[in-house]
């Protein structure tokens, strides 16, 4: 009896909820009905394909096609190539550990208590470990060429390494753009606008085709580092604009007060202005980072084995030819998990900042 009463109450409240949220006007009601009808037609076939008729253990794509569903067997068979590419098979615990380190570093950076010098030390240590693990050549780990650094570790090294290393240049550019010295300002504005004016893919092709032309003969930089340099120089312009936005939001009184305290330009910036400016730039910085993370997928166009390229190789394998939806879904899921997590974090910081200011 008690249970029935609760249920009646539930029905009552959900009825009220539906009145307010689904049928609050004739137009809204119409939309609700249309959407429900569309979902009824669309969702069951998708579930059918992705779950009910999917094959997880089929030996090849032909067997998958017989059951008429998704061919997740391709992923179970190929996931190590998709994640690590051509990294030596028996050594793939190393890139796996690298992924764990990067995720741990990203998580640690989200913890406000760790902000400051400790975090910088943590990052330097972490990146050193990444270098040792990827290269090897010490502690009995065989040496692995940078050409074989493929898949998700490549994406993370480019994106995370790129944004971390672009920071010093970006700070200088942002300060330069707000400087009172005309030559410094002109150089900073010129750099930022030219870099942001061209698509990333043009810079990528330039980095691959043109950079060797501008270096002394017989001077060789491995392709990966050329790419990383292009990435750093590219992201720096975007990060600089974000930091400039933060600088713009600092009231002039802060500059004047720190000048009145007798601080020189660099100490003013380091002790008073930048800590505040960077604090409020965290949400747009995360946005830039998400953009950089997604941009790493473009390196597939200049012949790098990133996640997307690995997927392309996999779906062209004779055993699994045509499993492109499954391959793309796997790659999309990885990108989505990282980007979604970062955008949630940025929203969380935004609400925190909002509360702090009120």
């Amino acid at each position: 009896m008690n249970g029935a009463a609760t249920r009646a109450l539930d029905i009552g409240s959900s009825y009220r909820w539906a009145r307010v949220n689904l049928f609050n006007s004739w137009f809204s009601a119409l939309l609700t009905v249309a959407i429900v009808l569309a979902l009824v037609r669309l969702v069951p076939p998708i579930i059918n394909w992705a779950v009910l008729r999917a094959s997880v253990n089929a030996p090849n794509i032909g067997v998958c096609h017989e059951s008429g569903g998704a061919c997740w067997a391709f992923i179970t068979d190929w996931y190590r190539f998709l994640l690590f590419g051509r990294f030596p098979y028996d050594q793939q615990w190393r890139p796996a550990a690298v992924i764990v380190i990067f995720v741990a570093l990203l998580l640690a950076s989200c913890d406000r208590r760790l902000m400051g010098r400790g975090l910088a030390v943590l990052w330097i240590l972490g990146l050193a470990c990444v270098g040792v693990l990827m290269w090897g050549g010490v502690f009995g780990m065989p040496l692995v060429e940078t050409d074989l650094w493929n898949g998700l570790p490549l994406t993370l090294i480019l994106a995370v390494g790129g944004i971390a290393l672009s920071f010093p240049l970006a700070l200088l550019l942002a300060l330069g753009r707000r400087s009172a010295m005309p030559a410094v300002r002109a150089l900073s504005v010129g750099y930022i606008e030219i870099v942001r004016g061209l698509p990333f893919i043009v810079w990528l092709f330039m980095g691959v085709v043109m950079v060797p032309l501008f270096l002394p003969p017989n001077f060789f930089i491995p392709k990966l580092w050329r790419l990383e340099i292009v990435f750093i120089l590219f992201i720096a312009a975007y990060v600089a604009e974000v930091v400039r936005g933060g600088l713009q939001a600092i009231p002039r009184g802060q500059f004047e007060a720190s000048a009145a305290l007798g601080l020189g330009y660099w100490r003013q910036m380091r002790l008073v202005v930048l800590p505040q400016a960077l604090g409020i730039s965290i949400p747009p910085l995360v946005g830039t980072f998400i953009g950089a993370f997604k941009d790493t997928a473009l390196v597939t166009t200049v012949g790098f084995f990133d996640l997307l390229q690995d997927a392309t190789v996999g779906m062209n394998d004779p055993t699994w030819r045509g499993a492109y939806v499954e391959a793309y879904a796997f790659v999309a899921l990885i990108y989505f998990v990282f980007c979604y997590f970062m955008s949630r974090y940025s929203r969380y910081i935004e609400t925190r900042l909002g509360k702090g200011r009120r």
């Binding site: 009172a180 032309l213 713009q248 004047e256």
Partner: protein, 398 residues
């Protein structure tokens, strides 16, 4: 900024202090040093480049632009054949880029506004679906989405006979997307002129009505009258011309389609991918702009006795547009830049034709200089305008 402003109380003293402590001397010296470093770096790279080019025997200059291109272009909107020059091939690519960008911007804006308003809908299902749309398309790389659309069109799409028909008259097959196009009539040109005249009349009228309102305090429904002034003349001209509306509808024949317009899978995938991706961003910009109008403004507007329409038109939209415009403009620039991903799915846009030419001729420096110049010609003026706008809107203090 404060430290170089040479405050009054220092003016006299600055004559006497040592030159290396003088703010102005130091600033000039510092700038000279920085410029010298930059010039040295550029000179180093330039000398390397000229040395390398000399060794490889690559001639310098833009003479190659008049040579015969000798490659085919799959998607061309203006006449081109392989016997045309490299320069003309670049023009064909530029037209492709501009058309994709223009169509993409218009459609992405429409879809984006729908998404943005749907996010704010009071209907739970609508706002939830819009949220899922935004999160999904913003959190995966565009190039991945382009690959998916492209593979759907070139692998999973049916042959012509069994083409998908999402809308009447629209066919999606392995050949690409075929859709009806209106047949051009002379009346359309006259209707266009009438619309322009109407727009001028509407602007003049709204100025006059604003002045009249300020003078007499009597308002007119100027929005509706303005709308009528813009829309009525072309409609009247169209009707007077006998309302000729003829669509060239594609028909399925034994071998492919006749009539209508067909675009290749590459073109369709690029356009569709750009629209769907950019619309997710525009939707968030629109939502943010509308939400940025503070509640107090709405309450004040209501307290003044404005109607719902007046509130939207006089209070919400002007303030939302102020917030929306800068990010919207930069989203348009992003779309133009993103159209260069065409190279990944084999659509011949400006950048990919430029790359083909560089590969064939080896003229990397000249080729990239042209590519860079064209993208900058599109981007820098817009960016400058944005910065002016930004300065105008930025926090104004003292």
């Amino acid at each position: 900024m404060a430290q170089t402003a040479d405050p009054l109380y220092l003016r006299d003293a600055s004559q006497r202090i040592a030159p290396w402590r003088n703010e102005r001397v130091r600033s000039v010296a510092f700038q000279l040093a920085i410029v010298a470093v930059v010039v040295a770096i550029v000179a180093f790279f330039a000398s390397n480049a000229s040395e390398n080019l000399r060794r490889q025997g690559i001639p310098v200059g833009f003479g190659f632009l008049t040579r015969e291109a000798a490659f085919e272009i799959g998607n061309k909107l203006i006449p081109y054949s392989p016997s045309d020059s490299y320069g003309w091939a670049l023009v064909v690519g530029l037209v492709n880029t501009l058309v994709v960008s223009a169509v993409g911007i218009v459609l992405a804006t429409l879809l984006g506004f729908v998404i943005g308003l749907a996010r704010l809908s009071t209907n739970w299902l609508v706002s939830r679906l819009a949220l899922i749309y935004v999160e999904f398309f913003r959190n995966t790389p565009l190039i991945l989405q382009l690959f998916v659309w492209w593979d759907v069109l070139r692998i999973s799409a049916p042959p012509d006979r069994e083409a998908w028909r999402p809308l009447p008259g629209v066919f999606i097959s392995l050949r690409g997307v075929t859709f009806p196009v209106p047949i051009y009539q002379t009346v359309y040109a006259w209707a266009g002129i009438a619309a322009l005249a109407g727009a001028v009349a509407a602007i003049l009228f709204s100025r006059w009505s604003a002045r009249r309102r300020e003078r007499t305090g009597q308002g007119l429904p100027s929005f509706w009258i303005g709308l009528a002034l813009v829309l009525m003349p072309p409609i009247l001209v169209f009707l007077a011309g006998g309302a000729p509306l003829e669509l060239d509808v594609p028909k399925l024949l034994r071998f492919g389609f006749s009539g209508g317009e067909t675009i290749t899978p590459e073109f369709a995938a690029l356009l569709f991918g750009l629209i769907v991706y950019t619309a997710a961003y525009i939707g968030e910009i629109v939502r943010g702009g509308i939400q940025a109008v503070s509640r107090g403004q709405l309450e004040a507007a209501r307290a003044l006795g404005l109607t719902r329409g007046q509130m939207l038109r006089l209070v919400v939209i002007p303030q939302a547009v102020r917030v929306i415009m800068p990010p919207l403009t930069s989203e348009y620039l992003n779309l133009i830049k993103n159209s260069s991903l065409a190279v990944a799915i084999g659509f011949a846009d400006f950048n990919s034709i430029g790359n083909t030419i560089i590969n064939q001729t080896g003229q990397a420096i000249e080729g990239y200089a042209i590519i860079a110049a064209v993208y900058l010609l599109i981007n820098i003026p817009t960016s400058l305008l944005m910065n002016l706008y930004n300065r105008y809107m930025a926090l104004v203090e003292r």
